[in-house]
Amino acid sequence: MKITGTRSVLAAAGIVTGFAAFILALAGNPGNMGFCIACFLRDIAGSLSLHGSETVQYMRPEIIGIILGSFVISLLTGEFSPRSGSSPLLRFLIGMCVSIGALVFLGCPLRMVLRLSAGDANAIAGLAGFILGIAAGCFVLNQGFSLGPARETNRLEGSGISFVAVLFLLLLVLAPSLLKFSTSGPGSMRAPVILSLAMGLVVGAFAQRSRLCFAGGVRDLFLLRDSTLITGFIAVFVSSLVFNIASGSFHFGFENQPIAHTDQLFNLLGMFIVGFGSVLLGGCPLRQLVLAGQGSSDSAVTVLGLIIGGAVAHNFNLASSTAGATAGGKAASVIIIVFLAFISFTVIAAKRRNEK
């Protein structure tokens, strides 16, 4: 493997992310959940009273930090680029689907890697589904799938989500009585605000510089035979594995893993949705936060879709629990896969008609 500049930045970003996740779990975040973009956006939905599951409500500062870390570093480097107009509604809907898939599995791609590195064997089924979903996404990309080009827009539109992130931070610090906070369950498990925010900022900045993306790593391997981007994926896994083994937190097995279930078919299908949807969107949930921070309002709309998807998953009892996938979650998984296939082929068919 050739070590290029890009690759070493990705490796650094991966190591920093693995370290930040380890510290956050140690400082109070749920087990194997130093970071989970889908879960944390769902917690934010709960904190804003968008869903009523009392165990998963918290204004997670990690999310605020990632958006603002990307925003600030992209302003400093001149990469901040306000863009919009690439099928925002479809992105919103696919974002919702990705969120529901992630909550059927119980984790976004980043948490899947963290779970793997802590010995949670259920995440192997998730990884298999994720890879299959990415393969499906690559297939439709090769057939010509595209959500269309974005156009330049004004700086206010491009920085809107970052202002929302600042507003969320102000609410958390100055007006917490307006928000909901879990007193039990995963939402009640949290690292100190300042530490969560700092780790979010650092990971957001590194992820922006390196283009770290968990779906993109596997996608580039399939689509372009390019292993550059997957360096970040591997670096998170290896660094997190080292920290877990060194601290005695590595426990291999299927049973009694923190915030996980053993319903392997739906671990697989949940992450299939996340892989497929992430390729259609051009990046995993972490990458969407970063792109939103650097000015893409299409990604900002996707983030809103992830939040609303989290709310829907809990309001309609689609999210899994440690007891396993729910009947609603199982039905939703199948319907979502059909829906994503429908979107893909409709877009491809329309494009081919236009080319004739």
Partner: protein, 67 residues
């Protein structure tokens, strides 16, 4: 030949480049309008045996791929 990938975000500019390089042209100009695509198209072109020279044009880059 020139392809304009303006507005598209990765991986689409790379896929467009890949398709344009399928017939192995001696040269190809690729217009990109963001840093990530500029890096990715450059990396892909070099990996497939092209050399890349770039010129900046406002907020865009014109990547000249030659064999």
């Amino acid at each position: 030949m020139t392809i304009d990938t303006s507005g598209y975000s990765c991986p689409e500019p790379v896929i467009m480049t890949k398709k344009a390089l399928r017939d192995k042209p001696d040269s190809l100009s690729v217009i990109v309008d963001n840093v990530a695509s500029r890096e990715n198209v450059t990396r892909f072109a070099r990996a497939t045996g092209y050399s890349v020279s770039e010129t900046k044009d406002g907020g865009k880059w014109i990547l000249l791929l030659t064999r």
